[in-house]
Symmetry: D2
Subunit: 327 residues, 4 copies
């Protein structure tokens, strides 16, 4: 139990079900005297919101953040920052049909097995809406990191041709399926010396941080899986004067510690499991059934997940930064 | 600081430099009344040792484990198990030449930046010899898991043709380079319900556990990076009666919780950075130099890393098992 | 940084300043399928509220709790329970005078030194109002413990004659000073075997839990400080058939582990530091000044702290219970 | 399970049973580049050893410490320091008689209940010999703290007249009983700002650290239990220019954070439970028996426990120091 807190010194604890009263986070360990407003967080939450793209869910939430504590006269106090977003466009009725069904690719089955109870409305705690707490934690982390000249930026990539069925354009009206993709994240401005040896390596914690995002099924650092087919002479990053590296196959991390180069992470994003195609599954009593899921879901989640990845990476980097104050 | 402990309830803290007096581990939280002998651990340490294969280092250590505490009359007491291996075939002299050199692909540079001091003899703490502590922790975990009918097995894969330079056989005498590969690990017998939501997902902790192994640069669960090009209908694992899944793209984990299927992890292993080919680097004063490293190193580490991967996975699974006693 | 979370498996993270928007807590690790309502928590919060006694502050808050997550159809989901209380009777203006003053016996000086900023309104985070989060965490813990037949009850004791100045009755209108006291807490129904060896002993964690309450300056287990003048034969609890102890000087704990007897804890509560008597102190610029504090404060906090003590003890016991599932 | 690690950033994990092969500790998180030798630790271990006083056990161990890792060329590496002491004067035979007996005042009963197995030789893990690991951790912490001009010193106090039975001198040959006492510890040189709010207060962690020592049954900070009978005007520490406090009832801690004054802790030490007087107890089968314990035990443990108290306090202070780098 109790897996809803991330970090050691910069600690983010999130809460909230998709269709409960609110979702949010408590940030404990944020340095004091940092300028912080609700707008600072809102900017990042807006990037996470469904947009007008045809790839995005039609659930429309304003996702307006409210800071309840930890900020006084515009500055952080060093005490816990609680920030939350109320759930508004809930529309429960459409989900009642899911009460007794284990949707393929979702956590319905495993939550039922683990807890013996679940909030079946849109996945409850396992919904993508849980990532609002992550973005709150990440937005504040990025505000702090900017003061240290550390910047984090991710971008997504996916192949729409898989949805267009050989045609020139995707017929979004009739798409009955969803699409996966790749997110790549880069950290710039991070000096050498960040990270811990052995188990709490910088790359190990980044891998955990990113793999904890619901849709992620793979994590690479630097050359990643390509190293499996490389020779040592091809993979080693040679050095020149001033501690400059002549390549960056390591992705900015050697022996679990940052080497001053850009930190590079690549993530595999699975296609959203909610699709309208007919699928075989079972109900809560173990009976085989077939389902066609017609919810308000994303055709491709990649664009919306970019800011979640940045957030997890930011929280990880800041946490190490606070542990490595001599860096 | 302080990254040398793994786990929450099954906690393994390792110690030791490659050329110090000893390497080993304290295991805290092992259940009591488990039959345990030094031989139980030795079996796994022997699999980690260099073997007679031409791919392996010529450093020859017996790696004889000694249990110092926590076992009484052949059974675990529930108190900390300290087990260690003395370093014997040290041969320091050959390493003095490395005192002022940052070897490409090694952690020499980052340790120096982080700590302002390092044990330069074969990488000190960042040496592969550090994994002895992991295998001690893993061997005991596997002993406990076997009683729960949970089994863990990994295997390695690599492409020797890259070393043979177009010829039929590799000329090991004159190989001046090293080779990467893949390790795949499978957990069988794990019931549904293991893992925690949100940040401490089973796949997130497995990713951390595996990425913390020095040579690992990528982690995949189930279909892994293939999901980036899949449609939801291709990736979703549909279900049939009895909670059986019709495929296993999820790698046995849904929403961070085990679903009862085999758990599948694939890792990218980088080629050993120590090669005899000439490489550009810098010395401790920042001067550019060229090095040809002629140590006792592995041409391909993949076969030896297999038991380390099993160990990390076993520690992770047991730790969750102890947190999920209702499973 | 980051000291606002209590517990390992039953984890309570609190937030909120006295005069911010709200105070509350996230409870992570509460078992699922426990019946839980806002009324269950409200009962305990009401015991913490200022009452009509002359000993109590005149700040009147309804302290109405609201559960935001983690409960569905009247039962806990196993996911984080966020519960909060809005601050209402804030009356800020009266506190502006304290902006530049370090009140004697309060944390004003140390918060300023640590954070370089503080919410000066009634102590901000260091206000007794912070204990609302503790009571939320404790109320839920007690609900769970009751199902295991473990009960926790504390009571306070103080000597009003110190306030009456030799007269028969205390003249509350003109009291310019405050009073300390003792709280004793008893845990019944706890079986033998709870607690961990060495550092995380049951008594060690209880001591931490109780000493973390702002007003507590001493903690005793069982015979407590009396043992300093006892002989072994007087202090040892001898045993009779059935594992019954003939006395309880140990306070129910041997070697850090519960022995099946009642667990007994006694706490020293300091007098509330806010008094209207003239006191010497300094302002934020280091100038010596004299203050007479005329806030809405408690003459004696002991009665109100009783439920806070029960809460901290309950959280500690439940946390160990979840770690000791074989008990 | 798993309570054998102390600290967050300065982490000490101890191991070892009284009559196993060795006792010791791994220190993780010690800053690098600190001069450290075995002699530095030995000095503190010698203070813990039984001395020639009539109050002390006749078990004679050299308690020679050996550092296995983490130190290179006389300086700490920043990697885990493993240090151990081999058990030598074991003399097991005399303890076999205890195999089936629960000694009054000892942890025999609770260990059996918790683990279903125990090393009955002199208490195994619950023996006072466990404190060697604490002193190792404390000795290194004090070495680091001295560089920050923070010093820690404790002293013991006990009333021998209780043993002399009205006569002028204690007849040590025929003493059949043991004696408790008080240890007071003072920390000097600690600046204001150390400690965390709410749960991880400096006094809360000190209380845990000290209460985790086997013989401790009470902890006071500053005026301690005296505050129960004090008025606010008597207890508040007023201030004068320069942030000087006119008294130190707070014991150097306000709101859980150091205020720059000396930190004062007082501990109640129970009499050693091993006495030769006849006592009632039960055997492992629940039968009532009487025992007269004739081991090699201490009449009064207070003098030997002083260095253990200093060690626990040092570990606590250093751990906070590393978390509060701006102090």
């Amino acid at each position: 139990m109790a897996g809803n807190t991330f970090g050691k010194l910069y600690r983010v604890t999130t809460f909230g079900e998709s269709h409960g009263k609110a979702v949010g986070a408590i940030i404990d360990g944020c340095p004091s005297n940092i300028m912080l407003s609700e707008e600072d967080i809102q900017l990042y939450l807006n990037r996470r919101r469904p947009n007008d793209s045809e790839l995005s869910t039609t659930r429309k939430e304003k996702d307006k953040v409210e800071i309840l504590s930890g900020v006084f006269e515009g500055k952080t106090l060093g005490t816990p920052i609680c920030a939350m977003v109320k759930n508004e466009d809930i529309g429960t009725s459409e989900y009642n049909v899911l009460q007794n069904v284990f949707r393929p690719g979702h956590a319905d089955f495993t939550y039922e097995k683990k807890y013996g109870i679940r909030d079946y409305r849109s996945g409850g705690r396992s919904s993508g809406r849980e990532t609002i707490g992550r973005v709150i934690g990440g937005a504040v982390a990025m505000k702090v990191l900017k003061e240290k000249s550390i910047h984090i930026a991710a971008r997504g990539n996916y192949d729409l041709s898989r949805l267009s069925d050989g045609k020139d354009e995707v017929d979004y009206e009739n798409v009955d399926d969803s699409l996966g993709g790749i997110v790549e994240c880069k950290v710039t401005g991070c000096k050498a010396g960040l990270g811990e040896p052995v188990f709490d390596k910088l790359d190990a914690e980044l891998a955990k941080a990113c793999m904890s995002i619901g849709a992620v099924k793979g994590v690479e650092i630097g050359a990643g899986f390509d190293v499996a087919n490389m020779l040592g002479s091809e993979n080693n990053d040679q050095m020149s004067a001033g501690g400059k590296f002549l390549s960056n196959n390591s992705g900015g991390i050697l022996g679990g510690i940052s080497n001053g180069n850009d930190i590079i992470i690549r993530l595999a994003i699975k296609p959203t499991p909610t699709i309208s195609k007919k699928q075989k599954t079972i109900d809560i009593n173990g009976n085989e059934i077939e389902v066609e899921l017609k919810g308000r879901n994303d055709v491709c989640i990649v664009d919306r997940i970019v800011v979640v990845v940045e957030s997890m990476v930011a929280m990880t980097i800041l946490d190490f930064y606070l542990q490595n104050v001599n860096v």
